[in-house]
Symmetry: C2
Subunit: 213 residues, 2 copies
């Protein structure tokens, strides 16, 4: 997919990446995207769990959500997928910044075909908690009926990565200020059993996998 007016860089083209696989990894890392749409002429944005399915993106929620129902009608959407990976502490405020990965997707959503719904929901579960589906009972039909599952067809995308060192000028490098990068912690700290977990049920393999370093 080539750059268009919507996806051509207006600034800092050196941060643009033509890396669709990188976007897919970013979606997995971010877990949540921000979906913007227009309602009565005004902008709206909402966070929602996102999972890549090939070059598409799956979104889901309650059939009771008026915003999801609006997205299901195929209105144009813009979806930001962002990971903040580090603080960049430069020798000046001006050069201080963040390491980030930022994808912006453009497209339209459509409901997933009912016959594919259970399998697509399983893909969502497996993306968020790998190995979990085989540990769970099957979906109930009333659960499937209560879930609105949308597929975003990505018509255009851009991807921008900032991952460099501070870019202080020579005068600041010669000065007294410290500079460096502070990576953000990622992943999960621990698995806290729920209050009414029955005795003798061990932490399952899926959860142990998420806790791995």
């Amino acid at each position: 997919m080539s750059a268009t007016a919507r996806t051509s860089p207006t600034r800092m083209p050196e941060k643009m990446r033509d890396d669709r696989a990188g976007v897919t990894r970013l979606i997995a890392d971010a877990r949540v995207g921000h979906v913007a749409f227009v309602h009565e002429g005004a902008p709206r944005v909402m966070p929602i769990a996102i999972v890549a399915d090939g070059d598409d993106v799956l979104l889901h929620g309650s059939t009771g959500s008026p915003w999801l129902r609006l997205l299901a009608t195929g209105v144009p959407v813009s979806v930001a997928v962002t990971a903040v990976d580090a603080l960049v502490v430069a020798r000046s405020a001006f050069e201080s910044s963040m390491h980030y990965r930022s994808a912006v997707l453009f497209g339209r959503c459509a409901p997933v075909d009912p016959v594919e719904k259970a399998a697509a929901l399983d893909r969502i579960t497996e993306a968020l908690i790998p190995g979990r589906v085989s540990e769970l009972r099957p979906h109930r039909s009333k659960e499937l009926a209560a879930t609105l599952l949308l597929r975003l067809g990505v018509e255009e995308w851009s991807y921008r990565v900032s991952d460099g060192w501070p870019e202080d000028d020579d005068a600041d490098v010669a000065g007294p200020a410290w500079a460096g990068v502070l990576p953000m912690r990622k992943g999960f700290a621990e698995a806290i059993p729920t209050f009414d977990l029955r005795e003798g049920i061990p932490v399952p393999a899926s959860v142990r996998g998420l806790l791995a370093p």
Copy 2:
């Protein structure tokens, strides 16, 4: 500020919080918000660093950014501020979810008065790296001139928090599946000095403060 048609809950009103201080803490924790606006009738969304200043929000970037320049004209914006705090692993896929804090702000931006610009930029630095301003040289006038600094006046907001245990039904609680909560790691893992840091410059107090547990 009271709820309006834009901020009244359409679903799960029990998750709504009338907690402006909570929104301010969320902005500090999230560091980055997602700003949605309408351009030529279509939705656009972009990530940007955000800092609370009283009930307003400060945004900044390059004067070369056409999107920031559009925001500076006072077009309506919607800003999502989101923190994902944990994965909620329930005994079914249907009840599995996330702990999150989600604020959606509505308003318009205007450029910060030039005489207030340096002080407002210092507030941004202090919010992101507390104590950093006193460790740095003053702004250069060309840096101030190259920075577009916007103040978002928040006209309406909503705040939603999900922080409970999995809500499995009795049949699932009696079943074999594990359930619990996996808090996400937060904060910074380490401070990596930049490649050309001069010898003898220690990690400053501001950065040590960010690394504190």
